[in-house]
Amino acid sequence: MASVTLSEAEKVYIVHGVQEDLRVDGRGCEDYRCVEVETDVVSNTSGSARVKLGHTDILVGVKAEMGTPKLEKPNEGYLEFFVDCATPEFEGRGGDDLGTEIANTLYRIFNNKSSVDLKTLCISPREHCWVLYVDVLLLECGGNLFDAISIAVKAALFNTRIPRVRVLEDEEGSKDIELSDDPYDCIRLSVENVPCIVTLCKIGYRHVVDATLQEEACSLASLLVSVTSKGVVTCMRKVGKGSLDPESIFEMMETGKRVGKVLHASLQSVVHKEESLGPKRQKVGFLG
């Protein structure tokens, strides 16, 4: 992760503040920073979203392409993730490690059957299916990357519109794929069960949600919990050099579930409201 240099006095200040449930910018331990989400920002993708969480800026683009289904799952399509870190802390090849780590985490979260219904992505079993290439672009790193990326991926998948195709078979048995004439005739993915990641950083004796770069520098260990909108935990991972007590892990998991449910509810309401504004909505993008 991007690092920031802190003096001992600053670290002590942050740690003592967190013990009293008061962080440097005035938030409580379970409060998120102000999140801005906007979908459909990139025109030649099937779906896209931009998320700004404090100083962290993420852009996600989803492109749907046709491919062959995997051998062990002939009736389903699949998702491919790619994370690109464009910030100069990761100049040249340095960003590849972080990118691979984030991509692998995303693969693990989406690995179970209930996150996304992959059967809707199948066109004809064993021959054609939709492959969704989810590309994450890290524009600015201001702490708490995993949360922002998972919110952006969920919003982008909600925004994805996959064109409807029909498979025509003629007498010789060769198949022809026909695209529907109406450009607005498309299938949408159901993102009800797509989980979001909540990162909990352990600082001192307490844990905080949505840590900034400075707070991440003070914490030795963090727990990444992936939570669905119903509060079901799908994946959990500990990161960091330090070690965690088993009781802290349970506490952090409970906090993660609670915070995750609220996060999902707000995200759903925001993307639905944006969608209801329809095509006349004024797109702000980076110009706002």
Binding site: V42, S43, N44, T45, S48, H55, D57, L59, G61, V62, K63, E65, F82, D84, A86, T87, P88, E91, G92, R93, Y133, D135, L137, L139, E140, G142, G285, F286, L287
Partner: protein, 242 residues
């Protein structure tokens, strides 16, 4: 592309513009708070983001430090979802490296590097299916946002040649049609050229006209960028209460 006329008889291009008209340009400075300078520009459908860090101490090998000048480091990366077909490698491939080198050459001509010896200025540009011109314009705004002294604005524009007429500011359709293309980066006040690049064959008699069209378009871009910068400074000074 049979049947697709790049320039109709009445003098209109595929998207309805005249030969010398630019696409719609919208720009904003100060997009990212953590960077020293940043800017975003939209030229038609092409979007470019530029981020500038510096001047700061040389990272990596100290041996690269120049005793009398600053080192300008440029990296260009293109988003994987930007073009019609998904691109696999966002940076490190040949086109990105070449673009980075070209940007570096352009900005070394413009930035007053003597003022910051032994330091490094990083320019990171990302373009959405973009071209050289949008990147240079975005980078100019970002360098100005960072407060790094430059000799002059660097304004860039592309130009082509179809049916005896020079076209300014090529869109993707016109570029893909494969005619001669000229990319020009200009310092408007003095009229000096920072970078000139041309692809495909063009008779030297026509070069003058195409160059003039590109230069005029670059000067038009300069007017726009100038307005954006003044607007930004006005907003900033209102916030400060001056």
């Amino acid at each position: 592309m049979a049947g697709l006329e790049l320039l109709s008889d009445q003098g209109y291009r595929v998207d309805g513009r005249r030969a010398g008209e630019l696409r719609k340009i919208q720009a904003r400075m100060g997009v990212f708070a953590q960077a020293d300078g940043s800017a975003y520009i939209e030229q038609g459908n092409t979007k470019a983001l530029a981020v500038v860090y510096g001047p700061h101490e040389i990272r990596g090998s100290r041996a690269r430090a120049l005793p009398d000048r600053a080192l300008v480091n440029c990296q260009y990366s293109s988003a994987t979802f930007s073009t019609g077909e998904r691109k696999r490698r966002p940076h490190g491939d040949r086109k990105s490296c070449e673009m980075g080198l070209q940007l570096r050459q352009t900005f070394e001509a413009a930035i007053l590097t003597q003022l910051h010896p032994r330091s490094q200025i990083d320019i990171y540009v990302q373009a959405d299916g973009g071209t050289y011109a949008a990147c240079v314009n975005a980078a100019t705004l970002a360098v100005l946002d960072a407060g790094i002294p430059m000799r002059d604005f660097v304004c860039a524009c592309s130009a082509g040649f179809v049916d005896g007429t020079a076209l300014a500011d090529l869109s993707h359709v016109e570029e893909a049609a494969g005619g001669p293309q000229l990319a020009l980066a200009l310092l408007p006040a003095s009229g000096q050229i920072a970078l000139l690049e041309m692809d495909a064959r063009l008779h030297e008699d026509h070069l003058e006209r195409v160059l003039e069209a590109a230069a005029q378009a670059a000067r038009d871009v300069h007017t726009l960028l100038d307005r954006v910068v003044r607007q930004h400074v006005r907003e900033a000074s209102i916030l400060l209460g001056d």
